[in-house]
Symmetry: C2
Subunit: 243 residues, 2 copies
């Protein structure tokens, strides 16, 4: 746990990296208390504000939490799947929008990954997962639903499918891909006919999952991918012709 004091700047980044390494490599374990800010400042031979900046960096990554009071301090956090997902979703959304990732590329990735869950979900989905999907399908058919609400329901439907695989690692990895598509989907205007087709495919997928048929689920997802890609292509082509 050493830092380079001659390097010009960014002492707080160096300190953050040193502590992060200690956590990743197991020298600091979950719920262990770090030295107080004053002690860290002395140890690294920097001022307290500099130490604080380093700790805030770690807090931003959910690596530590802080607590005030006599027995307070900074503690190594047990990263939860939930907290990690929130961060991953934010990062994924920004990645796609900032790097001008095409709808096609994002869509391909999302459906490829979802197909990876299909066989597992067909085997393991519970009645709850299925009920959640049916509920979303029902909502999607309601008249007067905004495009945005339709997309949000679509995301919920697909996340239920993914969660049905019963593998938290898969759910975590998929969350980014599924959620990051939403801003892109929101750019599309869905006609009543479009929605009907999507809903029909959702039903096909739900039926396949109910039957425990992984292959049929995958095929349903592939059909939905083709439908989505075609839809997007038409919308963007029409928009390009107009503008």
């Amino acid at each position: 746990m050493k830092i380079d004091h001659d390097s010009p700047a960014d002492l707080s980044a160096q300190i953050a990296a040193a502590i992060r390494d200690s956590i990743v490599e197991g020298r600091l374990i979950v719920d262990e208390r770090l030295p107080s800010e004053a002690e860290l400042a002395e140890h690294f031979n920097v001022s307290r504000p500099t130490v604080r900046e380093a700790l805030k960096r770690l807090a931003a990554q959910s690596l530590i939490r802080t607590q005030r009071g006599a027995t307070g301090g900074a503690f190594v956090n047990r990263i939860s799947f939930e907290a990690a997902q929130v961060q991953q979703i934010t990062t994924s959304i920004l990645l796609l929008s900032m790097n001008a990732v095409s709808f096609e590329t994002a869509c391909e990735a999302r459906f490829s990954l979802e197909r990876a869950c299909a066989p597992l979900s067909a085997k393991r989905r519970t009645a709850d997962h299925l009920a959640a999907m049916r509920a979303e399908i029902h909502r999607q058919g309601q008249p007067g639903l905004t495009d945005e609400a339709f997309c949000a329901s679509d995301v919920t439907f697909h996340r239920a499918l993914v969660d049905g695989a019963g593998n938290p690692v898969l759910s975590y990895q998929l969350a980014g891909a599924v959620e990051a598509m939403q801003p892109l989907m929101n750019m599309i205007t869905f006609t009543a006919r479009d929605r009907a087709q999507i809903i029909a495919l959702h039903e096909r997928i739900a039926d396949a999952l109910e039957d425990g048929d992984g292959d049929a689920t995958s095929e349903g997802l592939s059909a939905l991918e083709r439908e989505t890609q075609t839809l997007a292509r038409d919308v963007f082509a029409a928009r390009a012709a107009k503008g």
Copy 2:
């Protein structure tokens, strides 16, 4: 862009969230310069150190970069796939180790996701990807290779496969799953016979990719998954019997 001044603490977290929202929702665009720390401090009615802590939080997530000098300041960062991957890998590794995810669960997730890449990679892999995979296979056969180096080579092999799909979104999502397995794999001792079997399967996968046969690639991955799971089960069982 408002913060709650009556809430007891964590002003820097509130400020960071406010700025983050501005970026996510597009009010601040890539390469745009944020107000100076002094201006932000005045705007939010807090001191400069508090603003700085907020900015460090954002810097930890690669949302901004800072530059010193007369025309310096904090600028909205274009998040690169590379930077996002680094963070995702760290998070994934910690997620698995801190939440005691079983080898079985992680392995299942990894191979499921990789199979999702197989058809695309079979279609699109370049000669470079194939050459990289062959090179790693060759390295894996070298005598005197440590277990750790063997695992690292395995990761490189699989990442080449994933990158062969030519979809940066897929590569990004998969990086976490593939790399996070490495610490788990490092817990295993590979006999010469184990290695030979893994190498044979790697060759089978590379051959299938060379032929552009997505199904055969998937089957090769499935065989490798079964082999890996069996191997791990045996190792852990033996260790449990001993200890």
